[in-house]
Each structure stands twice: as structure tokens, then as C-alpha cells.
């Protein structure tokens, strides 16, 4: 047959692509089934929580009355305790990080990666890679996948992106650098 090898190779390629698509389809079904079980679990958990809260409210109402009675007896003691208590409260109110936008730098694959981290209320709200001249475009955009995991974990202790280890490690370290600058002294 003419072009025998070509048709054989074409068939192989179609089979491979078909296998990947089939795998993806099965994965999709699996995740959907998983999501359904997850959701039903959550609903039952929420129902339980609701019951617990109701009983806790009742308990709290009782406890409050008891505490009110006890407060009279202890009122003289609290004056000295108050001073230390208020200074603790001030520290925790300030938070670990200052709000604002901070830049950090770290070594990527072929040079320095610079990121901009936005913090508000001790939460990392946004991370932008502002410059990465030494990074290959494909590797950098793959490595940027680590940003969403940092934001969702609210931590820099996340896995690097396989295949783009250097770029993602660089981004993580740059975020660490930026967080260091944002820390309350």
C-alpha cells in the first residue's frame, strides 16, 4: 500500500490522543462523583454543626448568668490583670505583617525573579511577577502556577511545580523575601 508507514503512524497518534482524552473523560467523571460525595458529607456536617451550635447557645446562656454572679466576687482582682491583658491585645491587633505591597527578589533559573506581594489583614491577597529576565517564557508561566497554591495555602511552604522547579522555587523564595520586609518588627 502506498504511504503505508504514514497511515500506521497516523493511526498510532490518533490512538495515543484518544487514550489521553479517554483518560481525561474518566478523570472528569471520577472527580464529579468525588465532588458529590464531598458535598453530601459537608451538608451532613453542617447539620451536625447547627445542632451543636444550638445546644452551645443554650449552655452559653446558662454560663453567662453564672458568670455574672461570679463577677461581683472577682471584680477587685481584675484591676492588676487588666494592664498585661491590654498590651497583649494591642500586639495581636497589629498582626504579623504590615498591610501594603512589598517587592521581593530571589534567584530563578537564569537570573533574578522579582515579585510584588500584596498583603491586607495578615492575608496574602495578590502576588505578581514583576520581572524575570532570565526565565524562559514557557517555564515561567508554568512556574507561576505556584502563586495560586501560595495564596490558597496562605503559606510559602508549598510544593514546587514539577518541570519548572527553578522558576517556581525562585517565585517562592521571592515571596519569602517580600514577606520578610513586610514583617512587623
Amino acid at each position: 500500500m502506498k504511504y503505508h508507514s504514514f497511515y500506521m503512524r497516523l493511526l498510532c497518534l490518533i490512538l495515543i490522543i484518544g487514550a489521553v482524552l479517554g483518560y481525561n473523560f474518566m478523570q472528569k467523571n471520577d472527580t464529579q462523583a468525588l465532588q458529590i460525595t464531598e458535598l453530601t458529607d459537608r451538608v451532613s456536617a453542617l447539620e451536625e454543626q447547627q445542632k451543636e451550635m444550638l445546644t452551645a447557645l443554650e449552655d452559653a446562656a446558662k454560663a453567662q448568668e453564672e458568670a455574672r454572679a461570679a463577677a461581683y466576687n472577682a471584680s477587685q482582682k481584675t484591676e492588676t490583670d487588666n494592664e498585661t491583658g491590654s498590651s497583649d491585645a494591642a500586639a495581636s491587633g497589629e498582626g504579623v505583617y504590615k498591610d501594603g505591597t512589598y517587592t521581593g527578589e530571589a534567584q530563578g533559573f537564569g537570573g533574578t525573579i522579582q515579585v510584588q506581594v500584596t498583603l491586607s489583614g495578615d492575608e496574602i491577597t495578590d502576588i505578581q511577577v514583576t520581572s524575570a529576565p532570565g526565565e524562559d517564557a514557557a517555564y515561567l508561566s508554568q512556574g507561576e502556577g505556584v502563586i495560586s497554591s501560595i495564596i490558597s495555602a496562605q503559606s510559602t511552604d508549598v510544593d514546587t511545580v514539577s518541570g519548572a522547579t527553578f522558576s517556581s522555587t525562585g517565585i517562592i523564595n521571592a515571596v519569602v523575601d517580600a514577606l520578610g520586609k513586610a514583617e512587623n518588627a
Binding site: 508507514s5 503512524r9 483518560y23 478523570q27 537564569g110 514557557a138 508554568q142 514539577s162
Partner: protein, 271 residues
């Protein structure tokens, strides 16, 4: 005739140099795309399109449509191999006064060409089996891409450095040593259904008996004849085209191919 060969080689060298400077990471990015598919499967996650697969997909599409011109003209590692080999040819000529292009016997080349498929299978299976991470630091490509990024690999890349040096030595002994025998991405390219119109074809009717210059000059020692079992090995270096004294070899040209087949079947040479 020699002039024509030199011109083709020079044009190719210039294009290769440009790609080497501008995009030295294309080949490893393309293979990272292939790996990412298997990594997703190994992790039990759906395969998603990513920036590596952009490069892989584009290169595979180009290869299917126009043949492995990426390998012949744009791949930085292939260019490195060409540079090493041509340098060795030059030194042999100037220092040892040995003319001609050295290489392995055809039979050995045929066997070694299969090694890359084994290597590809080994790498992909090791990803699926989950012990690919143990190979960290062994990839000569990682070392090469660090060097092109002007970065010195550290001690954890010891095995990769040794392998790269061995490959560099191998590159001196045979034209396109790595591409033909070891390149896992080359194995993927070779398995692509390259359109018959993008393959080199030979008008056998015009060939003198027992010439075989094209086959001798071909780095892969291919019998240039359009779509064959081995046509995927062609890296589109255009050496055969430039070598043929009768200009019998060209890419594509459906009509001429049909004519040639008709003639050869009349002469009783058709397969």
C-alpha cells in the same frame, strides 16, 4: 557541485546559530510538555494544557506538516552536535590529513537508532512508576540548559555533567550522534505521521546504477525514497539534496513521485 553543498551547509549553519542564541531551550521545553502529560497521569490528575504543551504541540504540528526541520535547523542540541562533528572533521583534515566524513557503519547506525525509543520508554515509564524524581541531576539536558543560561551546575548535577561530556565525545564520532541514537524528543518526532508531501523523494529513474551518494552522505544513512519505515529518522538536513550530482532529490512533488513510480514499475523495480 561542492559549491552547492557548501552553500546549503552555510545557510543552515547561520539559521542554526540564530536559533541557538535566541531559543536554546526549545527542545527541552518540548520534552517537558511530553513529560507533563505523564506526570499528570502518574499523579492521577486530569491532563491539562500548559505552556510546555504550547511548544510541544507547535513543534509536533510543524513536524507533521513540514518534516523534522526543527531538528535539522532549530534545535540547539542538534546544532551543538553538528558543531562538534564538523570541528572533528576539520581537525582530522588539517592535523591528520584524513579526508571525508567519518562515522559508524550503516548496520551499527541502524541498531543504535533504536536506542532512543528504549530511552523514551524508560523515561516515560519511570515517570508513571513515580521514581523519575530519583533521576534528578542526571539529565544532561538540564546541565546544557544551565550552561546556555550562563549558570554553572552545582555538584548535585555530577552525573548529568558526566553524561553530557560523554555525549559531546559521541557527537565527535558520528554525525548527529545524539539526535539519532539518544534523543527522546527525537523518538517522539520520528513517530509522528509526517505528511508524505514533506518527505524527501528521489527520482530513481534518473539515478545511475550503484551511485548511492545520497545514502552515504545522509547522517542517518537513509535510503531516500519518500514514505518508508525509516523516513521518520530524516532530520531534514538537506545534505542528500545538495549532494546528488543529478539533482534527483527533492522534498514532496507529488507529480514527479508518481512519474518516478510509473517508470520504476515499468523497469520492474517497484516494491
Amino acid at each position: 557541485m561542492k559549491k552547492r553543498q557548501r552553500k546549503v551547509r552555510l545557510i543552515r549553519a547561520v539559521i542554526q546559530l540564530i536559533f541557538f542564541i535566541v531559543a536554546p531551550a526549545l527542545f527541552s521545553t518540548a520534552f517537558a510538555g511530553v513529560k507533563s502529560i505523564f506526570q499528570a497521569i502518574a499523579a492521577g490528575q486530569p491532563v491539562t494544557w500548559n505552556s510546555f504543551l504550547d511548544v510541544t504541540g507547535a513543534l509536533l504540528l510543524l513536524t507533521v506538516l513540514f518534516g523534522r526541520h526543527f531538528c535539522g535547523y532549530a534545535c540547539a542540541f542538534g546544532s551543538l552536535g553538528d558543531a562538534m562533528y564538523e570541528l572533528t572533521v576539520f581537525i582530522r583534515q588539517k592535523v591528520f590529513h584524513k579526508k571525508g566524513r567519518h562515522g559508524y557503519p550503516e548496520k551499527v547506525v541502524r541498531y543504535l537508532q533504536k536506542v532512543k525509543y528504549l530511552l523514551l520508554a524508560f523515561l516515560l515509564l519511570s515517570i508513571l512508576a513515580g521514581w523519575y524524581s530519583n533521576l534528578q541531576g542526571m539529565s544532561p539536558w538540564d546541565v546544557f540548559s544551565m550552561l546556555t543560561a550562563q549558570k554553572l551546575p552545582n555538584a548535585s548535577y555530577r552525573i548529568g555533567i558526566i553524561l553530557l561530556v560523554l555525549i559531546l565525545i559521541g557527537m565527535c564520532t558520528q554525525e548527529r550522534f545524539f539526535c539519532q541514537f539518544l534523543c527522546p524528543m527525537g523518538a517522539v518526532f520520528a513517530m509522528m505521521p509526517i505528511l508524505p508531501s514533506a518527505l524527501f523523494k528521489r527520482d530513481r529513474s534518473k539515478c545511475p546504477a550503484k551511485c548511492g551518494l545520497c545514502r552515504k552522505r545522509c547522517p542517518a544513512h537513509l535510503d531516500i525514497d519518500g514514505d518508508t519505515l525509516l523516513s521518520g529518522e530524516c532530520i531534514c538536513c538537506h545534505a542528500c539534496e545538495a549532494t546528488c550530482p543529478r539533482k534527483n532529490i527533492q522534498i514532496g512533488q507529488e507529480v514527479e513521485q508518481k512519474e518516478a513510480e510509473a517508470v520504476s514499475s515499468i523497469r520492474g523495480e517497484g516494491k
